[in-house]
Amino acid sequence: MKFRSSYPFLAWAVRDSIRQPLEALLLFLSLASLAAVLGTVLLLSQTLSHTAQRLLKDAPALVIRRVGAGGWAPMPVQESVRLAKSVAGVIGARTRIWGTVNGPGGPVTVFGIDQPLERAGLPDNILLPSPGQAILGPGVMADAKTGVIKLSGTNSLVVQVAAVLDSRTSMVAHDLVLLHPNDARQILGIAPGYARDLAVDVFYDNEAEALLPDLASAYPWPVLLITRREAAGIYSAGLARRSGLAYMTLVPALLALAFIVVGAYKNQSARRYEVGLYKAFGWTTADIFRLQLLKALFSGIPAVVCGLILAYGLVLWPGVSWPGYLLLGWKQYPPLLYLDVSGALLVLLEIALLLFLPYLAAALWPAIKAATTDPQDFLAKEFI
């Protein structure tokens, strides 16, 4: 049976791979660590971007802010909503009250919620905050003894912590403090009947850009309009800037790959005398090709797989925090990442191919050279 005749061959390939065990171990460690480094960098950037895009899909199609002489200005709630809805293509508009204030441990984002729509995403066991209450994001530290939190914006306010969001919301709510809208207005210095900005939903997402001139002209005061696509672009650009340092690891990683490939090629070339010996004993080029292939698979695949598993764990383990330190600039209590795994397998496969194919080509080179060369040409190199 053909399969049975492969056993000695397979055993020989394994035996030949570990003839020089230290060399084999070094190769394993090199390939594995290279796979881990490349995998981590590429997987992190791809999954961060992918997850951000997915999360931003729930963002409003358009955000309108009023612009004043000193920067942004509050918008009258009723008039803003009415004017937005007067534009054809707009199917919904709601005002938002939010801003950045000082909290314990650093700046936090406060958000006033009272409208039923903004309940979307909150678990059913969490009630909307009443005046004097707050729902904290997982990264906001309250006073453990008293259970209160002091927030300082235009005005200061101490509120009672009613609930803390689950750590799995960390990617969107890490530094968030949800308040009653009156409390939010008080802290941010926004008068009653006014809001920070307007979130607009449109009938057809792709036509959001087309509505910009109509929306701008609907308002009697200057407004800044940001589409979801622009917001995603701003986010991606920010991510890309922060990832620049991570991408710099790609250059030495690719250099390391080149060294491994060259090393594999030189190693195999140095052993071309052995190829000559095999051929002298009746091994065909196909046999040698098979041997080299099995050796490369035996030494390369476990190394690459181990490295990629490590990369997968480093990036996609639920709640990893190290990217927050290294990439997102957090000094303490970084956000925990729960990244989207879809598409990760494809990225890992691409990395595996990027690493493995050049290595395989270098390993197979002697077999290819042996295809038309006389064995004596290889044997004569023994003493050189």
Binding site: P8, A280, G282, A286, D374
Partner: protein, 228 residues
């Protein structure tokens, strides 16, 4: 018809210093028949090893051809020549063992692609070593052996595949009298109606055994002459 290995006007040119070409072999023709042992002798550098390598299919001549059973094997494409070489067992002038491997592993090298089980591989390896009285060395690494022992291992490696053509380059080199006698005895046993044995040798001990060599040749100045 008896099988035979035939050289037909074999010439080999080598590029020397300053780009000049030197003829190592010039129009060498000979017929080596099955069931016979042929010894090729000659001064050092005459081209004996080169001729053996050409006969074994390790090297292609610059001119002429090698015929095996009337087929021009030296002109075949590499894949077919590799398969034909399975019928050839070769003993090199230097043992050429792979030092990190054990003696048994070195011996079974030729038959790994052709044998279906590891147990059978080991059995044939042991049989080849036993026939030369060195089965006790099976587990030793190649570098731990003496020159004579290495040469005997390389002979075991050549005969493990039971070749139809045995080509040996100085098989009794580095051997004492006992070792040389054992090898000559083994090679004499190897003589069968369907095997061709060609040996390059300086060693007078080989020539002295009259029941061993059927024909003797001398290679000198690139030309081959049969001695009566």
């Amino acid at each position: 018809m008896d099988s035979a290995l035939v050289c037909q006007d074999i010439s080999l040119l080598r590029r020397g210093w300053e780009g000049s070409q030197r003829a190592v072999l010039k129009n060498v023709s000979a017929v080596f028949k099955a069931g016979q042992v042929a010894i090729i002798s000659g001064p050092t550098g005459a081209g004996k090893s080169t001729l053996l390598h050409i006969l074994a299919g390790l090297l292609r001549p610059s001119q002429g051809q090698v015929l095996a059973d009337n087929r021009p094997v030296s002109r075949w494409n590499t894949a077919h020549r590799d398969r034909w070489r399975r019928k050839v067992g070769i003993v090199f002038q230097h043992p050429r063992l792979l030092n990190e491997l054990t003696v048994l592993e070195n011996v079974i090298l030729p038959i790994i692609p052709r044998v279906s089980s590891i147990a059978r591989l080991r059995q044939r390896g042991y049989e080849a070593l036993e026939s030369l009285g060195i089965s006790h060395l099976a587990g030793q690494p190649g570098f731990a052996l003496s020159g004579g022992e290495q040469q005997r291992v390389s002979i075991a490696r050549a005969i493990v595949s039971q070749p139809e053509i045995l080509i040996a380059d100085e098989p009794t080199a580095h051997q004492d009298e006992t070792g040389a006698a054992a090898i000559i005895h083994r090679l004499t046993e190897w003589k069968r109606p369907n095997t061709i044995t060609i040996i390059a040798a300086h060693d007078a001990r080989l020539r002295r055994h009259s029941d061993f060599a059927d024909r003797q040749f001398e290679l000198r100045c690139g030309g081959l002459k049969e001695l009566q």
